[in-house]
Subunit: 244 residues, 2 copies
């Protein structure tokens, strides 16, 4: 931090070695995370893999929680990159297509990196509190992207009026929605916003069920078809029509 802005010098060999070391620790930490899960993440084991004695890693990483934070940010950004790439591959005005691409990208990444997904969206690690000032920005990339797609669709008039019976928005909820709308500069009305929140939670609920094995071992064979069906229904729930 202070080193970077005090002098714009090229990094000294020592600094390069240091950041290389931190990168190695994060990389091997990710491997351990993938193999043994977050709760079993052991700094000592990582140290052994790095080829250094356990106490030495404390020169680079303050604590086990610090390593968790690094892995958390790493995971959020990887998921964010993955989602961004998938969404950007779809034309900007194909809102339904972008929505589906986002959902499929989340699922694909989650199934490929179940341990990282569990760290990001599973039960909180006991005794660990993520430092908000470092994790909120990467941690909100996906939801902001989703909100962006839905609000752009709303502005363009591509959001169909909702089907089904009208659902009242009570005043407290309306106030929350107003705050969200103001903070993110959105146009969509309360009804669409509230449904957007439901679509958001439902998307991650479906992915979590699959990744965390809440479906029985062999209840659903065609899981991809099931998920795509869910995405289609959620798309309708959000108000997005095919072809718009």
């Amino acid at each position: 931090m202070t080193i970077a802005d005090s002098k714009a010098k090229p990094p000294t060999p020592r600094e390069r070695a240091r950041s290389q070391m931190v990168a190695d620790i994060v990389r091997l930490g990710r491997e351990h995370l993938a193999r043994h899960g977050a709760a079993a993440l052991s700094l000592r084991a990582v140290a052994r893999d790095v080829g250094v004695v356990s106490s030495a890693v404390y020169r680079y990483v303050e604590s086990r929680d610090e390593l968790l934070t690094l892995l958390l940010i790493d995971g959020y950004n990887e998921l964010g990159d993955h989602v961004d790439a998938a969404v950007d591959a779809i034309p900007e005005t194909d809102y339904a297509g972008r929505f589906k691409a986002l959902g499929l990208a989340v699922r694909t990444w989650a199934l490929r990196e179940p341990a990282s997904y569990a760290l990001l969206f599973g039960s909180p690690v006991p005794g660990y509190q993520a430092p908000g000032e470092r994790t909120t920005v990467p941690g909100t990339r996906v939801i902001l992207r989703l909100v962006g797609i839905l609000d752009a669709a709303y502005r363009s008039g591509a959001l169909a009026p909702q089907h089904g019976p009208a659902v009242v928005i009570p005043p407290g909820l309306a106030a929350d929605m107003e705050a969200v709308r103001a903070e993110l500069g959105l146009a969509a009305d309360d009804e669409f916003l509230a449904r957007g929140v439901l679509v958001w939670t439902s998307l991650f609920g479906a992915v979590s069920f699959e990744v965390f094995g809440q479906y029985g071992a062999d209840t659903f064979v065609a899981r991809e078809e099931l998920f795509e069906h869910h995405l289609s229904v959620l798309q309708g729930l959000a108000g997005l029509c095919e072809g718009h």
Copy 2:
């Protein structure tokens, strides 16, 4: 097992003491779980609280994983009882009312017992595999109850035809649905079944987001209103109309 069916004698003092001890261990284990989380559940700490040396608890509980299994079953049954009580308080033919009661009961219990909820529905504990033969029955109580409500509504003709654009059910998914229908003796067609699965995952997705703190700390103030709104939308998604 063998004791119980070989002789129907009343339990000896020793047996009573034993089951009392196991009950104490589970009870204090639950407290530790609630305070420190699943990954930090320590047999030694529980032993201290029980007032016995650490090695002694292994006379009653085979291992830490065994204790986790006991807590898992305990949690499933408590959630199941809670949900059953809430649903049973609503007239049998008020399908929409029963659905909402089920959803609210899940949320209430989850917020009251976040650690237990995390154990049941959060990221799997690394290295721990729940023994299916002991956990599937209590673990499926809520979903079976939900399926029961929806299928009863379907049979009675109370399920409205779906709104929105028709969504195709691909053959693989149809086969899964047929298997589920056969195994549970259901009447509902593929479309309703698939939507029922989505309602199921969405319900727990919404609860998990709240319990696991995925919403920001202060994004939503009126969380109960938000959840009830979600329930209303999900109710419509399932096909349940108000008043039926």
